[in-house]
């Protein structure tokens, strides 16, 4: 018996996991023209794990607090061996992850994988998307440079625009009326404790549901295959699909390393609350579409303040997104087409507004 086999048997006798993993051995992945989109979920998970690992390493040297944060990141970048690598990977992976989860969400939307019985998978996924944006927003402030400081100021200011609950929410986020060292401490707490805790729970739920419910098949194909089971083409998850996923993950690792080495993340200038905001301050690219929308809304629409309208509109859209699976019937009908139309519009809008926001002064 090979040593690997012996170890496996020893563990199985004590953990009794063989029958737990058994379903995983049976799991199959449908093969069709659009199967490649199935990789996105796994890549998102992989990048999240990278974030956790590099994040823990950064925690060994990072110091939260207005007087030390910037200097500790500078220390990591210049004095710590390979600190530049760990920090740059963390920053690049963050951006790549946000891009990937958006792509994952859109692919699920277009492939209609949110339909019954996978509604809860979708809901947990959208909540994870919001959490990931929260990770990005809170993490961005931690180096305490000028851009981050003012981006946070503008971002939390906009939150304060929500009627009734906005102001208390803003004070809660900022740890006071203004963005100060207290905000930094708070964001640090969110970023390393609160958000990871919630995200882990939701992620486990999300993964469990995916494993239990299996991979979804596009509706038209589903109809075809139910009519003609012989036409069904699948691949075993273990080991075939997993091996391919490993390839994708290794490729992602290579891309990350290249980005980190050739384009290390820059430090910026230490934040100074008394200096006025640099002209043309913009949030990070993943918030640009919202930011640009708010800029384009006229200052007064009817009798409602433009910015408040914008914030409320986004809130409404977020709610709509969360409950999307429940808004559509199970039967192939006209209903499905308006969601596809909405999906196309949403994609075009997000991309278009992001580009516009990037190019605008």
């Amino acid at each position: 018996m090979s040593p690997l086999r012996k170890v496996r048997d020893w563990l199985d006798e004590r953990l009794q996991w063989d029958d737990l993993i058994a379903p995983l051995r049976e799991k199959t992945v449908p093969l069709h023209r659009l199967s490649y989109w199935y990789f996105l979920g796994g890549i998102s998970l992989f990048l999240f794990v990278i974030q956790v690992l590099t994040g823990i390493l950064l925690l060994l040297y990072y110091r939260p607090g207005a007087n030390e944060a910037f200097e500790s990141v500078q220390y990591i970048m210049t004095r710590v061996q390979f600190g530049w690598l760990i920090r740059s990977i963390h920053s690049w992976s963050a951006n790549l992850m946000i891009f990937t989860v958006f792509a994952h969400m859109f692919s699920v939307l277009f492939l209609k994988a949110y339909r019954k019985p996978r509604e809860l998978t979708w809901v947990s996924g959208v909540l994870l998307l919001f959490l990931v944006m929260g990770f990005g927003f809170s993490g961005y402030l931690l180096p305490w440079n000028t851009l981050a400081f003012f981006a946070t100021k503008v971002g939390t200011e906009i939150t304060g625009q929500v009627p009734i609950v906005g102001k208390p929410m803003m004070i809660f986020l900022r740890g006071g009326e203004d963005v100060t060292g207290a905000t930094l401490t708070r964001f640090f707490g969110f970023h390393v404790a609160v958000l990871p805790g919630i995200a882990t729970v939701l992620l486990l739920l999300h993964l469990l549901l995916v494993q239990r419910l299996g991979m979804s098949i596009p509706p038209k194909l589903e109809v075809q295959w139910t009519a003609n089971p012989a036409a069904k083409r699948e691949m075993k998850f273990l080991p075939n699909f997993l091996l391919r996923e490993l390839m994708a993950w290794y490729l992602a690792l290579g891309v990350l390393g290249a980005l980190a080495a050739v384009f290390p993340w820059n430090l910026g200038v230490k934040a100074d609350p008394f200096v006025s905001a640099p002209a043309g301050i913009k949030p990070e690219w993943y918030f640009l579409f919202m930011f640009q929308t708010l800029k384009l809304i006229p200052s007064k629409v009817w009798f409602i303040d433009g910015e408040i309208l914008g914030v409320l509109a986004f809130g409404l859209v977020a709610l709509l997104w969360l409950l999307l699976p429940f808004l559509e019937s199970d039967q192939p009908s006209h209903m499905k087409r308006w969601i596809t139309g909405l999906a196309v519009f949403a994609l075009a809008y997000t991309v278009g507004m992001s580009v516009y926001g990037y190019l605008a002064k």
């Binding site: 075939n240 490729l251 290579g254 290249a258 080495a261 050739v262 384009f263």
Partner: protein, 422 residues
């Protein structure tokens, strides 16, 4: 009837009380406002008799409670022009140009009087004026020279600290230029009229007007204001040394000081000019059109050789700085952290600045000291920049290795998948 009469008396009494009350009220309303009836008419008159309330309210004298009568005499409380402008009331009419300094001085040279308004205001302006070129010519009967109102304005005279004042540092040159840049006005006087034009090309003008640095010199800084006299040839250096102390110290100990004094040459002005002082360049030490040394020295003599040496040293350090800066810039844009070396370059640049100041000693050994110090620092920073580039290449090499390893894994996985699926 008696009751009615009593009531009538009451009514009459009430009327007087009412009138008195009204007068008191009017007086109360008018309290604090010095009556200046002159403006009632003169605000509507055309120039040169016109002074509007708006204009006069800007005047610092008006703000301190003085009226037209304070200078012109007369009775400002009367509405009747004959009473207001009566000789008996002391009316002087239009003040003659010749009487202006004495008139202003009647208050402004009186410390006891000025103390009531601003105890720290100087009261020596008239005395200083009398020592100035303007004052001396004025005493000799010249009516074209400036008197108080020519510079300070009149009727809307503002404090010098007010940025709109004609004698605020940012405006002084414009005020002087009103006469001194007017060639036709200055005909008959033996001084040039190009000072203002030259000053506007100068580095001092740049600092004052463009950068807003109020410590930068304008006409009055070097010439004085009330006691305005061009500094004597042997005193120029003292004026410049008020700010440029280091250069003056160097020059003081140099061979040039004795030589220039002996030849009655005006020190700093010989090389730097007086009004159109530009930012000096290393070309001053060269042999081209900007060269100042070669205006006097003969090519080939020991001084020319020293000059060449000085120029060479400065050039050396400048080049070293530029090279180090270049390498650091490339390193930084490649993502390397070189902020410490960048800071160190500030010191190297400081050394070059110091060397350029030490030039004024005209001693190659002293300049060389500063240059060598600077070269050492620049070399250190260049080394740091190069080390950063080495590190950068090492990183890329390491990346290359790991990418090859990753490539191998990808290839291996591909082959393995192919194997188990056939």
């Amino acid at each position: 009837m008696a009751i009615l009469r009593n009531k009538l008396r009451l009514f009459r009494a009430a009327r007087y009380v009412g009138l008195a009350g009204f007068v008191v009220l009017a007086a109360c309303l008018g309290y604090g406002q010095t009556t200046n009836s002159c403006l009632d008419c003169h605000s509507a008159l055309p120039d040169p008799l016109g002074v509007t309330q708006e204009k006069f309210s800007q005047d610092i004298h008006a703000q301190k409670g003085l009226t037209c009568a304070s200078c012109h005499g007369g009775d400002p409380t009367s509405d009747d022009p004959d009473n207001a402008m009566s000789r008996k009331a002391g009316w002087k009419g239009k003040i003659d140009h010749k009487q202006i300094p004495a008139l202003c001085g009647s208050c402004h040279s009186d410390p006891a009087y000025i103390r009531q308004f601003n105890p720290s205001l100087r009261t020596d302006q008239l005395g200083q004026y009398r020592t100035s070129v303007h004052g001396k010519r004025f005493a000799a009967g010249d009516t074209k020279v400036a008197v108080c109102t020519d510079c300070h304005g009149v009727h809307d005279l503002r404090a010098p600290s007010d940025p709109r004042s004609t004698v605020n540092p940012v405006n002084v040159a414009n005020t002087c230029a009103r006469c001194h840049a007017d060639a036709s006005y200055m005909k008959g006087y033996s001084i040039p009229t190009d000072q203002f034009a030259k000053y506007n090309t100068s580095v001092h003008h740049q600092a004052l007007t463009v950068r807003g640095d109020l410590s930068a010199p304008t006409c009055s800084t070097c010439h004085g204001n009330h006691g305005a006299v061009p500094p004597g040839i042997d005193k120029v250096q003292n004026v410049c040394s008020n700010c440029h102390a280091f250069q003056a110290q160097m020059y003081e100990k140099s061979t040039h000081k004795k030589a220039f004094e002996a030849a009655s040459l005006p020190g700093c002005v010989v090389c730097h000019g007086n009004h159109g002082i530009r930012h000096p360049t290393d070309a001053y030490l060269g042999t081209g059109p900007d060269a100042v040394c070669m205006r006097c020295h003969t090519p080939g003599d020991p001084c020319d050789q020293a000059r060449a040496e000085l120029l060479y040293s400065l050039g050396q350090l400048d080049e070293a700085n530029k090279t180090a800066d270049q390498v650091l810039r490339v390193a930084e844009s490649s993502g390397m952290e070189v902020s410490e070396a960048r800071l160190g370059q500030d010191q190297a640049r400081d050394s070059l600045t110091k060397a350029r100041v030490t030039i004024h000693s005209f001693r190659t050994d002293l300049v060389d000291q500063d240059i060598q110090a600077g070269l050492k620092i620049a070399a250190m920073n260049l080394h740091a920049g190069k080390a950063a580039m080495v590190e950068r290449n090492y990183r890329r090499f390491g990346l290359g290795i790991s990418l090859i390893a990753i490539g191998m894994v990808l290839a291996g996985l591909r082959l393995y998948i192919k194997k188990i699926e056939t």
